[in-house]
Subunit: 249 residues, 2 copies
DNA sequence: ATGGTCCCTTCCGCTCAGCGGAAGAAGGGG
DNA sequence: CCCCTTCTTCCGCTGAGCGGAAGGGACCAT
C-alpha cells in the first residue's frame, strides 16, 4: 500500500470512497475503499471535517460535506453552465413534461449536470453528478460527434458497452451515426440505453462556437417521437448557446 | 506566512481563492489570495489539476474542475436534497412562476442549494452555492427559528446586518419574529433583503422531525402576497419532508 | 534596441509534516 | 467471560514538501 501517494492524492482517495449507493461511510470502510491505513485515513478525515469538506454524523459515519459543494458550485462547467441553461431547460420541460437533461463531456464519459424529471416521465439511468459512456445516450452521441479526433478514435477503438439490443456496439456503424449527428445537428438515441426510452439531444456551443455541452429530452420510445421533439430541443440548445455567448461579451 | 498550515489546508486555501466574481484565476493571483508562496501554489495546482479538482484553460488560467463537482454532488445536503425537493419546487414554480428557492443552514448562514427563477421573476440577491445571513431572508428565518439555542443566541448577539430599511436589526424584535415563525410554521421576509421583494418560507423536516432545510418563494412585495403564497409554500415543504422521510424508511 | 514589470517554471538543500504499526479503549454479540 | 470490529492515540522515523533563487517569456514604454 505504500504506493508513494501524495497527501492531496490521499485526501481525494478518501473523498472518492463515497458513492451514490454509499453516501455515508464509517472510518474503516473509507480506509478500505481508499486503500489507506486506518490512522492515515483517520487523520485525513479529521482534517477534511475541520475544513467542512467532510461532515460527521451523530452516529459516527462520514459523508461529503456541504463546503465542498459550495466550492464546487464555482466550477464553470457545473452550476454556472446549469444556470445559463436552466430557463431553456425549464421551457422545454414545461412544453413536454418529459425528462430534460444537460451534460458535458469528461474524457470518454458524459457527466450529467442537470436533470428535470416529471413525475410521470420515463425512468432514466442517469444521475446528476453521475457519468455515462458517450456512445449510448443522445447527449453522449452529440458530445462524441464534436469531440477531438483523438477522443473519437479512443471511443471507437472500444469496447463499446451494450445496454440493450439496440445499443450501437459496432464501431463502423457508430462512426456513420456520428457523421449523421454532425450533419443533422441533432442526435437520437432510440432504446440504446434502456428498452423503453428514446432521447433527442442537441449541442450547446460556447463563445468560440465550440461544442461545450449538450441537452436532451428523454421520452418513451415511439414512432414519431424524435421528429416531434427535435425542433424544441434544437431551439433550447440554441437559446442556451446564445446566452452563454452573450455572457462572455 | 509560515503559519504552519497542513498540505490539505493549503490545497483548500487554493480552492477558496475562486469566487463567483473571479471564477478564473492566474497562478500568481491564486498565490496572493491563498497567502501561499508561488512555488507551493504552483505545485498544488499541478496536483489538483492532475486530480481534476482544478482545470487549466488554454489561456493559462485556472478554474474549479468538474471532478470536484462530481464528488461534491454526493453531499447529502446538496444535490440529493435538491433532487428530493425538486418535484415540489417545480410544482410551486409552475403554479406561481415566481422565484423558488431551497436552502440549508451552515453555521450562521443560509447556503442556497437550488433556485428556479422565471424570466420575469423579481431579482434575487442570492446564488446557488452562495451564502446569506440567516436573519434577513425567509429561508434564513425558518432555519434560525429551528436552529439549536446556541446558534440562535450567537445570531441574536449580532451584529445583525442591514440590507434595507425593513431588515430586522433589533435582537428583541428578531426574537419575537422567530417565536412567531415557530408558531405559524411559515416565515415572511417582507422587503428585508431587497426593497421590492417578499419571500415566504417553510421548513423541511427530516426522518426524525428535525428541520433540515427550508424552501421559499420570492415575489414582488405587495399587500396580499404572503397570505396568498403561504399555503402553497407549506404544501411544497410538507411534500418534500414526506419524500425525505420515506427515503430513510 | 534596452530596460522594467509581471508572470511562470524549474531546481535543490533542508526539515518537519505526516507516516503507520502498535497499543489500548469502546461497543456489541454470543 | 471471550471474541470481533471499530475507533483513537502515541511516537520514532523519514521522505514529501518547502520556498528562495535562478532563469525564461511576454508585454509595454522609451
Amino acid at each position: 500500500m505504500g504506493a508513494a501517494r501524495s497527501r492531496v492524492e490521499r485526501a481525494f482517495a478518501v473523498l472518492d470512497a463515497f458513492t451514490p449507493e454509499r453516501p455515508s461511510l464509517r472510518l474503516s470502510e473509507i480506509a478500505r475503499r481508499a486503500g489507506l491505513p486506518l490512522t492515515t485515513t483517520h487523520r485525513l478525515l479529521a482534517e477534511l471535517c475541520a475544513l467542512g469538506a467532510v461532515e460527521r454524523d451523530r452516529d459516527g459515519t462520514y459523508r461529503v460535506g456541504l463546503r465542498l459543494w459550495e466550492i464546487a458550485s464555482l466550477a464553470p462547467r457545473g452550476v454556472p453552465l446549469r444556470e445559463a441553461a436552466l430557463p431553456f431547460l425549464e421551457d422545454l420541460y414545461e412544453v413536454t413534461h418529459e425528462n430534460v437533461q444537460l451534460g458535458v463531456r469528461e474524457g470518454q464519459d458524459v457527466v450529467y449536470i442537470e436533470r428535470i424529471a416529471g413525475r410521470r416521465a420515463v425512468g432514466v439511468l442517469t444521475r446528476v453528478g453521475g457519468r455515462f459512456p458517450l456512445h449510448a445516450s443522445g447527449i453522449g452521441l452529440v458530445l462524441l460527434a464534436h469531440a477531438p479526433d483523438r477522443v473519437q478514435r479512443e471511443v471507437l477503438e472500444g469496447p463499446l458497452q451494450r445496454f440493450t439490443d439496440y445499443t450501437i456496439t459496432d464501431p463502423a456503424l457508430l462512426e456513420r451515426v456520428l457523421a449523421q449527428v454532425r450533419r443533422d445537428g441533432v442526435a437520437v438515441s432510440d432504446r440504446q440505453v434502456t428498452d423503453d426510452a428514446l432521447s433527442v439531444a442537441a449541442p450547446i456551443t460556447g463563445a468560440r462556437g465550440e461544442v461545450i455541452a449538450a441537452l436532451s429530452i428523454v421520452a418513451k420510445a415511439g414512432d414519431t417521437v424524435a421528429a416531434r421533439l427535435a425542433p424544441a430541443v434544437r431551439a433550447a440548445a440554441r437559446g442556451t448557446s446564445r446566452a452563454l455567448s452573450a455572457r462572455r461579451a
